[in-house]
Symmetry: C2
Subunit: 304 residues, 2 copies
């Protein structure tokens, strides 16, 4: 395949950026890739393991001459990074990001960018509970969705070029509006993560049930929560702070529903419970049929 | 290996019973295995696929002459089954069960059994979201815990013999008191299941987020909930109705904790969120180190 971009800059060198690098290089999809991470230790590790063709000591240096800049920092760091790189961006460059919320990222990044560059936010629905520069692998995106959330007025050819890159690393792509994205993700990702974090925290607090018991007997359901609740703390703090309204709305609905089920248990309404559990089973079938739980690597299964 | 029991009866022919049968036969652990299911259709399927050496048309017939009787019916059906088989049990036989709650099963079964038989309740922490006579496979128990909850005064040799069988099919075993079992399982299994059912129900209700979006974009966390929420509705209805107090207690703690995290999001207390998420990450490490998420087959991964 011919190169889709000549020069690419990865800002932030965690799970997503390192996976992108290995995927780009495996298939020769882009030319030189520069990288930058705020932490000197992360930059040292990147140099040691050959992550990126060139590691720079500032974000501005990394983006110089880049045709595509991918912001792979936590959502809360987007504003500062955008300010820093803006003066160094090449005219005609495309800037994208991989943040899990989109409205807040657009608000944080777009105002700082010069009119001469294109901002095309995106979001890969791919991850594991591991993080950092050593956690990436080229197959992370295979069969996974890469959502593209273009800002109004963006040149279609620019969006198409980025779409081509995400498809070339194995992703399926879809385009949607930022607010809709944030609501869908509140349902499919943000609320489930907060709930998993909560349940794991409760288990940790219960002194009557010893740690080793919770851990040993986790295969009965709890284990699947711990996988989710092991995700990167900084990333998830920023997700909740930046998709606050949609997440709180879904959590409100969740609590309402949980109370209804608790009440059914308390009043021993077995029919209500049985009907509810039968309905939820159908959704699972849809996910398997849609191929979202047969592709490897699966969430959290890859590197353990 | 020499046979651990001569004659075994499996009452109820779902995921656990069918997996037990294939595991017993693979390794020649027992002699003749009889089977019974209430549904004629299930008995026909069992005969068709060679599940059990002999399928009987009543539970009483199936247990005649059996040295070990394994009750594999939903918890809510235990009382009726115990009444039915009691007169037909062989003196000196061991009766066990595989129910997910133990106090309620002991209360339902023990009073009906003659003094000449031994009742040794047990509970395998193994499962998938599939159910029915076709869903079993011999490897289900490998590396998984099989908890044994002896009633007071049971002959140690009788418990040891059952323990040997569960270890022979690949399980790790542990013994504990019924009330402690029910509390531990409320934390590691029952509350997580109810929470997963709830979240999947909420997603299903949200008409603004279309079905196909929830399904397509499920890999970001929601998918792991749907796997749990696809478990057998009858079994889970009975679990909640029969471990009501412990489940409601844990759900109460869960709600309290969820409200604290919701408040942290609303007030934008990023430090609280980050600290919380860092703590929960540590529990995950313990589970991986304890080997509870590396053994195959994993919950829900086996047959999809």
């Amino acid at each position: 395949m011919s190169q889709i971009y000549d020069r690419v800059a990865l800002i932030g060198l965690g799970l997503i950026a390192s996976s992108l690098y290995w995927a780009f290089k495996r298939d020769g999809l882009v030319g030189e890739v520069t990288g930058y991470a705020r932490s000197g230790e992360t930059r040292d590790i990147a140099r040691e393991i050959g992550l990126c063709d060139r590691i720079c000591d500032s974000a501005a240096e990394a983006v110089e001459g880049a045709d595509l800049v991918v912001l792979c920092v936590p959502v809360g760091a987007m504003d500062a990074v955008a300010r820093e790189i803006a003066p160094a961006l090449k005219a005609g460059a495309t800037v994208t990001d991989v943040g899990s919320v989109k409205r807040a990222v657009i608000d944080a990044v777009h105002p700082h960018l010069p009119d001469t560059v294109h901002f095309v936010p995106s979001h890969p629905l791919a991850g594991t509970e591991h993080s950092g520069p050593r956690s990436g692998f080229a197959e992370l995106f295979e069969g996974r969705w890469f959502l593209i959330v273009p800002v109004e007025g963006t040149d279609v050819a620019v969006v198409d070029q980025l779409d081509t890159l995400w498809q070339a690393i194995g992703s399926k792509t879809a385009r949607m509006d930022a607010d809709h994205h944030d609501l869908v993700l509140a349902v499919t990702s943000h609320a489930p993560h907060l709930i998993a974090y909560t349940m794991v925290g409760v288990a940790d607090d219960l002194s009557r049930v010893t740690d080793s018991e919770v851990i040993n007997y986790s295969a009965a359901g709890f284990r699947d929560f711990t996988r989710i609740a092991a995700s990167d703390p900084t990333m998830w703090r920023d997700v909740f702070l930046n998709n606050k309204d949609a997440t709180l709305e879904i959590l409100g609905r969740f609590t309402e529903e949980l109370f209804a089920l608790q009440r059914a248990i308390r009043t021993e309404d077995g029919d209500m419970l049985h009907d509810y559990f039968t309905r939820t089973r159908g959704i699972r079938r849809g996910i398997v049929e849609a191929g979202q739980d047969t592709d490897a690597p699966d969430f959290g299964r890859t590197k353990t």
